[in-house]
């Protein structure tokens, strides 16, 4: 430490550890709590299909599985962009 520390730019190892843990813990939590393990892939493929027609944000798609009294409901929610912001379908 001391004067030299003032010029150090690389993040501390504790910061790196925290960042790595934040990502892996979030990932593992969603894997165990968030329903079947095909959900992330399903979400990605749905996003690709929808993007052929509407230019939506990656965050605009929510896929959830809810359990209600013995049955599972797959809930899909897509937030479309505002009308004027909607662009013509992107050509692949």
């Amino acid at each position: 430490m001391g004067l030299l520390a003032l010029f150090r730019r690389t993040p501390s190892s504790a910061t790196v550890a925290k960042e790595r843990l934040r990502i892996i813990v979030a990932q593992e939590r969603s894997a165990r709590g968030g329903g079947p393990d095909y959900l992330p892939l399903l979400r990605r493929e749905l996003l690709e299909v929808i993007r052929k027609y509407v230019n939506v944000d990656p965050d605009a798609i929510q896929v959830n599985v809810e359990r209600e009294e013995g049955q599972e409901v797959l809930e899909l929610s897509v937030t479309l962009p505002e009308r004027k912001a909607a662009v013509a379908p992107t050509t692949p």
Binding site: M1, G2, S12, A14, A17, K18, V25, R29
Partner: protein, 270 residues
Amino acid sequence: MTEIIVVTSGKGGVGKTTTSASLACGLARRGKKVAVIDFDIGLRNLDLIMGCERRVVYDFVNVINGDCTLKQALIKDKRFETLFVLAASQTRDKDALTPEGVKRVLDELAAEQFDYIICDSPAGIEKGAHLAMYFADRAVVVVNPEVSSVRDSDRILGLLASKTARAEAGNGGVKEHLLLTRYSPRRVATGEMMSVSDVKEILGLDVVGVVPESQDVLTASNAGTPVILNETSDASQAYDDAVSRLLGETKPLRFIEEPKKGFFARVFGG
């Protein structure tokens, strides 16, 4: 009303047994009637940390199998009238512990008016760890500020939220507390170690205690005297604070910052 507290972590070697022994002594020192149970079947160790290894006649599995009564197996602590140890069996039979057997022992302790039952969980997420947490009302999750310990403890949090009697009954689940051990304020200050707030933020738990890295922990286990009883030690005071918080008192965290350096030390390092 008996409260069952599991001391768990996922990862091994982070201080579960040290913590179980110290919390049990701290509660007993406040006059509570406490039983501390070693769930690490096959690898008995709590007896050594508590200093009663030569007085183990019967163990947890003996009670479950009906080889003896619970009274015969409970080892009365020599320091506290109201503290009892139930040792783990050294059998290699993995199925020696059964949910029904564990429940029967816990119910019997409740009938004997114990205030607290501390369940010292084995490492891992196998049967012993599962049974140690299954009947718990509260959990003390022991974590070192280090990546593998934090990740493993998050696995344990997942199990506490799904594979316990309270979770299955849907009545609020197990109350979870974070207890950091082997904390080094100096290394946190230099950015080499995650801080209390870092770990707290990742796991999303309330902190019940932060025990600084201390040479007194090894000395304590060498002697079979739980470190909380070495009152001059920082670790002892940190554990005693944790006991107070478990009992609902509000205490500021201590030993989480290194003493401030003077001007010259800051400029010139050291």
